[in-house]
């Protein structure tokens, strides 16, 4: 089990979750292919997750994005069977979660995967330190030891000096830091975030996003992050899965989503994203045409388009786009202007 | 949790009575801890005299209770229990003594003969009779009203808001010995029994009826202090003959005159010692009872005070009851 060939931290294959009695019957028949409204009309069941497959690499920040009701929260809960999936496969670190016994499942939850919740889920009758130590407490870690560990984590999330407070004495952002600390305290390999910052004010949300990025750098956990906020997804996600009506409509990097939306739904989603901030030169460079002078400035392919503008304005020569030391293409002023004006002749390449 | 509780109860019960199953009279309630009215002297035991809801009964009970407490050093409880329930109290241990029993041959049969949880403890010396009464002014105005055959003629007089288009026959406490429904049916009277709910309601209505010349037909009984204050006339129902009240549904005759007697629980008779002796010896006249009852009802005395007054004035009588 542990030595399965795929090195993914999480593997999900053909995952279904159908709420309502008769879910198995729906799965067995053709009804599974009905769209959600028709399914509900016909069987009274709701398909929250429909045939979802993906892999999360170790150390990756994987974002699942979708509007409310798209099934993303159900999906994340299916990973540790907080909601029991109806069909499909979930493997964490190679281990089949769906086959795990209740005791084994508890072990996975205790040591391998922990979760941060939208509404924090703190225990108001416990002090901050005891909230953070909760996971260790139920594992049976002695009081002194778990308090020491909790204090360590508290200082990691910047809550030094709040150990003796009660949750309701803290601001929302600080409460979520407690939630974060609680998830971190058990030292899991994977952390699941269920819209953790959507209940926070915009400014605090930004701080917390930065905090997650910092933590990810420092502790290097695999993270699955659920959000309905596209900018949050783009900011955090190495890869992003967009969900709609229970299914993943597109999975890719931020650039792929913005540069090459799979369908109108995704296109609609990403329409207001300032593309010059997300797309890199790789997306707009073209093969040098004969006559293009190749002695212009040189920029790496991963440079966001907006950063190329200054260079282009300083030099009238086409910019050489370099990837891995080799020329990937060129971009000149006209290309940049056309891109910024919204004409995107190259986007046809998206299907590549 | 439930199972554990049941198991607990079971264990408790088993340990209390051994393994033969629990019978009702093994109840622990009969040995309620003594409240100890006087912290100094250890009481000789606790006697529970049921209090039935009429003042004559209470008079007897309080006099006996007073003597038990002050002459024999017993602790006395006076639980408020209605007539027939008192008999059941013999079985559960809630009652030791009924100090004034009005007949109840059926209950005697059941609890004394069959279940053997109670025994008779002799007459109280009081003669009791139940009947239907009207205020004297009605008899003066309508001399023939005292014959039950003529009652229908006067039914209109007795109509009230509670009896509708029939005449009202006012009854007392729901627990009283009663043939009223059967009598009305079998004598074909156009009357309806209206329950006043208490002795007090009867007394008040009777007093008002005589004082304000209001018509009233009501259930009442002798001995009662009221007869010395308000003139009441008994309505003659068909006379009592031996056995005419054997079937409660077919009763069509008046109530018999009864020797009121005392009933005690078998246990009390066996283990009550001097207290039982005193109860057995208790015997007084209707006048004695009426005097105490009158003090309780009309002189604002508590039962204990009225009993004390009588005891102090009648030493010779009660001295004879005290066991040697």
């Amino acid at each position: 089990m542990g030595d399965s060939p795929d090195s993914a931290a999480i593997t999900v294959e053909g995952l279904w979750k159908i709420f309502g009695s008769g879910a198995q019957k729906v799965l067995a028949g053709d009804d599974r292919n009905l769209d959600p409204v028709a399914l509900r009309e016909k069987t009274g069941c709701t398909a929250a997750v429909r045939d979802v497959s993906f892999e999360v690499r170790p150390g990756e920040v994987f974002v699942v994005m979708g509007l409310s009701g798209s099934g993303k929260s159900t999906l994340v809960r299916c990973l540790t069977r907080l909601i029991e999936p109806s069909a499909g496969e979930v493997r964490i670190d190679g281990e089949d979660v769906r086959a795990a016994s209740p005791a084994r499942l508890r072990e996975i939850r205790r040591h391998q995967v922990s979760m941060v919740f939208q509404h924090f889920g703190l225990l108001p009758h416990r002090k901050v330190i005891d909230n953070v130590a909760y996971g260790l407490e139920i594992q049976g870690v002695p009081r002194q030891e778990r308090h020491a560990r909790a204090a360590e984590i508290l200082s990691l999330v910047g809550l030094d000096g709040y150990a003796g407070s009660f949750p309701d004495q803290l601001s929302g952002g600080m409460q979520q830091r407690v939630g974060l600390a609680r998830a971190l305290a058990v030292d899991p390999q994977v952390m699941l975030f269920d819209e953790p910052f959507s209940a926070l004010d915009p400014l605090i949300r930004r701080d917390m996003q930065a905090e997650v990025i910092r933590l990810h750098r420092e502790v290097g956990k695999t993270m699955v992050f659920i959000t309905h906020d596209l900018s949050e997804a783009l900011k955090l996600g190495e890869r992003i899965a967009i969900m709609r009506a229970g299914a993943i409509v597109q999975l890719g990097t931020a650039e792929e989503l913005v540069g090459a939306p799979a369908d109108d739904y995704v296109a609609d989603f990403v329409r207001d994203v300032p593309r010059s901030h997300v797309l890199t030169l790789r997306w707009i460079c073209r093969a040098p045409e004969p006559g293009d002078p190749l002695d212009g400035p040189e920029l790496p392919a991963a440079t966001p388009v907006k950063d190329a503008v200054a260079v282009a304005s300083a030099s009238s020569l086409p910019i050489k786009v370099v990837a891995d030391g080799e020329l990937a293409g060129v971009v000149d002023r006209d290309d940049l202007l056309a891109f910024l004006a919204g004409q995107d002749p190259h986007s046809v390449r998206a299907n590549a | 949790m439930k199972i554990r509780l049941l198991a607990g109860i079971l264990v408790l019960g088993l340990s209390a009575v051994g393994c033969g199953g629990a019978t009702v009279d093994t109840s622990t309630t009969s040995s309620a801890p003594a409240a100890g009215s006087s912290a100094s002297a250890e009481p000789a035991g606790t006697v529970k005299i049921a209090i039935n809801p009429w003042v004559g009964y209470e008079a007897s009970a309080h006099v006996v209770a007073y003597l038990l407490r002050n002459e024999l050093g017993y602790n006395v409880e006076l639980p408020e229990i209605k007539e027939q329930l008192s008999w059941e109290g013999f079985e559960t241990g809630d009652v030791d003594v009924i100090i004034e029993n009005w007949g109840h041959p059926d209950l005697k049969e059941q609890f004394i003969e069959q279940k053997k949880v109670a025994v008779e403890a002799g007459s109280t010396g009081n003669k009791g009779v139940i009947g239907w009464y009207i205020p004297k002014w009605m008899a003066d105005e309508h001399p023939d009203i005292t014959d039950s055959k003529n009652l229908n003629k006067y039914a209109d007089l007795f109509k009230t808001s509670e009896s509708g288009d029939k005449g009202q026959l006012l009854f007392g406490d729901p627990s009283y010995v009663s043939n009223e429904e059967a009598l009305i049916k079998n004598l074909k009277l156009n009357y309806k029994v209206v329950v006043g709910g208490s002795e007090a309601a009867l007394i008040k209505s009777a007093q008002q009826a005589q004082a304000q010349k209001k018509p009233l037909l009501f259930y009442f009984w002798d001995p009662h202090w009221l007869f010395s204050q308000t003139e009441l006339i008994r309505v003659n129902l068909p006379p009592y003959t031996e056995g005419c009240d054997a079937d409660p549904k077919k009763v069509a005759c008046d109530y018999p005159e009864m020797d009121l007697d005392k009933i005690v629980s078998k246990k009390f008779a066996d283990t009550g010692g001097k207290a039982y002796e005193l109860v057995k010896n208790f015997n007084w006249t209707n006048e004695d009872q009426n005097a105490v009852a009158d003090d309780m009802t009309n002189k604002g005395m508590s039962g204990e005070e009225a009993a004390k007054k009588w005891v102090e004035a009648n030493t010779a009588k009660w001295q004879a009851w005290i066991p040697k």
């Binding site: 924090f120 009660f166 609680r182 | 019978t23 309630t29 409240a35 809801p53 809630d94 059926d106 406490d173």
Partner: protein, 637 residues
Amino acid sequence: MSSTTVSASSGFRLPRWAIPAGATIGFVAAYVIFRGTATLPHDDEAPQFLAVTDLREWIDDHRNDNPFFLYFLNYIRLGVGALHTLFQTVLYALGWPGITGVMGALAWLAGGWRTGLLALAGVSAFGVLGLWQSSVDTLALVGVAVLLSLVIGIPVGVWAGLSARVRRTVTPVLDVMQIMPTFAYLAPLALFFHIGAPAGAIATMIYAIPPAIRITALAVAQVSPTAVEASTSLGATRWQTLFKVHLPLARSTMALAVNQTIMMALSMVVIANLISAPGLGGDIIRGLSRAQVGIMLPAGVAIVVMAVVLDRMTLATARKDPRARTRRTDLAVAGALAAAGLALIPVLPAVWPENVTIDVVAPVNDAVRWAEENWYAVTTGIKDVTTYALLNPLESLLTSAPWWLVALAALILAWRVSGVRAALTALACLLAIALLGVWEHTMQTLTTVTVAVLVTLVIGLLLGVAAARAPRFSAIQRPLLDAAQTMPAFVYLLPALALFGTTRFTAIFASVIYAVPPVVRLVEDGIKGVPPTVVEAAVAAGSTPGQLLWKVQLPMARRAILLAANQGIVMTLAMVVIGGLVGAGALGYDVVSGFSQRTDFGMGFVAGVATVLLGVMLDRITQGADRRTSPRKRKMS
């Protein structure tokens, strides 16, 4: 689109009032034609009654040799009895110094000096009123009943809170238990557990369990699902989550469950005296059977004092911030109180010294007599007008109408107000009542209930509207309503009895004052719950206050008002049945009589069952209020 949809197919539209008016005319015509036929007159010797009486005789004869009794019921009786004796022994051993000290200490810990002093004063009041012994007996009985209720109720409640399926199973049972008039519990209990303190404790326990279960379930179900999920996601077992998350978070609401259980127990413990349970109930029954308010009043006051003390203590516990440490001074005072009380046990007499009691019997009796004599014209006037104008005509209408006509009317009414299912349940209840042989008495009780409910609603609406519109009036009224709702039902019989003697009207009066407070409160809340923007809009459109009330506030508060009617009916029924003790007659009297006369046991038992059926029926007819905003709305959809 409303009621007329039914006839819309005939091509022309009737005015909205046509159908109700037509139905009314139809019923009047049917009544005139069939009046006096198919009535079900009461028969004391009905075979149904005799069968139950026989069953009781059989049980009485076999109580000590039938295995079900010998090895099961009698053990329960015995266990509860032993527990009661234990409580009694402890309380007696503490004596008044001990009880006062310990209660004072507990109250001080629960709610600080105010509650502490209240408890000290309250416990002393038992003694001063001359009711020490009865009060302690009552306390012991309440203690046993509450303990058992919680021991059973809390686990069941927790289970119901955790599992929706259990909740669905338990809820309807609790619904029925809560609309069951207190009286109805007694006969079956006497049958199975005989009479005395254990039976009283069990009756009280059964009556007090529903709020324990219901509120506990609510408390547990209300626990933040995220907190539970967070705990599960960290790998907690179900027991760990239960003890570390559910129970701590549900704690303060569960303290309310304890509070409600105690309150229910206190109101039942008095009635349990009818099956010979000891305590203050005895004094109240004694007062009733002597028609002496002077005897009842101190006992009533003692019950209310006990209710208030226990209510404040448990409420204070419920409201207490679970994190706040008990202050050292409070601990010290409480400790000192308890120690002083315990230390004084050997020094002071165990029973309250008689020379520090005040005897209010004579003065109260005098006052009542004075009121009787001086207000006689007024009280009799009110009583007679109500009786002749409302009670008697309605009673003769209901008892002389054919039973099928009454059933049909109930069916249609329930259908209109609450839908098909409710209507069928109501009909089933009525038919069962007819089969049980208590039709006539049920109709009489129904008459009394109807009149009482009408009066209650009129008064409740007036006071509720007044309170909603005049904040100052509301501020004065609120504490009175609070106090009124703390009082056990029985206490309301007192003023009624004092003013009106024993008649049907007495029960009506008592039930009106019993049911008005919750009705007022629901109406007031309903009107206040109308969104301020709507009120603002109406005022901006130039509505007069009267128009605002009639066109906006009352229609929008309709739901709350119908709920108030439902509550009022259930409470009124409970009280009217208790009114059997003070002349209300019919079913209530049958129950009382069933306890007093062995030959009437069957009738009393059946009457108890009938009150339950009547309660379910009335509840079903009016429960539509609870479920939907308007009877028309559903037809449109």
